[in-house]
Symmetry: C2
Subunit: 144 residues, 2 copies
DNA sequence: TTAACAATGATAATAATTTTCAATAGGATG
DNA sequence: CATCCTATTGAAAATTATTATCATTGTTAA
């Protein structure tokens, strides 16, 4: 609905490809790369091109339905934005496990840090990297 | 000196190219991309190859002399790490101006957030984005 | 000085993403 | 419903940043 409204407002057409990619994206729970999404969508319609997937992801960003996340590994991933409020990411350096976290005090302090330099904060990114319990156990138990 | 020690310890050779690139990097105050560094170095020695610049930056990382920063625009930049303790970045969405910031309370809270999920924090990245004073003034004054 | 091999520069390769472009297909209008 | 205009599509080429390859050069230690 939101996407359709966005399309209408911007004189863009509602095509079966766009619907398919949107549905596939919304069905997913976790963040996903353009290539992964292409793989999924291709199963339902092998004729779809990957450029279209990239194009739709860009549209979803503009429609505020998707948000980019970048762990710095050269691949951009996307996650839901609609009905999925802001949060940061806690990532395990060992196994890659990822948790969404928010700390309201940090959020408030970030605003203040920005203000103390004359900035009006618009948004931020925070990635916490560490080792999860499992990986720490493996590390101390296993050889070296 | 530190770089030379690192080279010696790892059975790597101290070459004029490595010296030149290291010096150019250390002379710089701000963060820089591999390509920008290549441009600078090329002026002093046009025969230098850009692969060497990429290779030396990798060495500087291993020697703890450089640190990567990634603003998510597809280009990796590097900044000094030696004698330049950890900090985060406050970036203006308007003009790109960048400030280094640290808030010890945020740092502490990050550790606690990680611990509350069973993680042992190893490092983090935090980018605060906003509008600086100048850009805000321009925005409210200028047309639209 | 010479054998062994690390380092270099040029270039090719990679990988993710974007652009190009000819063919196709929405959808408003008559 | 047919038609025209133009947005959209898929395939493939182009881009961009970075990495790998490889023949040649330079260093070092015996």
């Amino acid at each position: 609905m939101i996407f359709q409204k966005y399309l209408a407002k911007h004189d863009l057409r509602d095509t079966p490809q766009r619907e398919l990619i949107l549905d596939a994206f919304l069905t997913l729970e976790e963040h996903i790369s353009a290539e992964q999404l292409y793989d999924i969508v291709k199963r339902q319609d092998p004729s779809i091109g990957q450029a279209t997937v990239y194009r739709v992801l860009k549209l979803l960003m503009e429609a505020e339905l998707a948000r980019e996340i970048d762990f710095g590994d050269g691949v951009i991933r996307y996650e839901h934005k609609y009905n999925h409020p802001h949060h940061d990411h806690l990532v395990c350096r060992g196994c890659g496990k990822m948790l969404e976290v928010v700390d309201p005090v940090i959020e408030e302090l970030q605003k203040r840090v920005a203000e103390s330099h004359g900035f009006k904060l618009t948004d931020h990114e925070m990635y916490l990297y560490g080792l999860c319990e499992d990986c720490r156990r493996k590390k101390s138990a296993g050889p070296q």
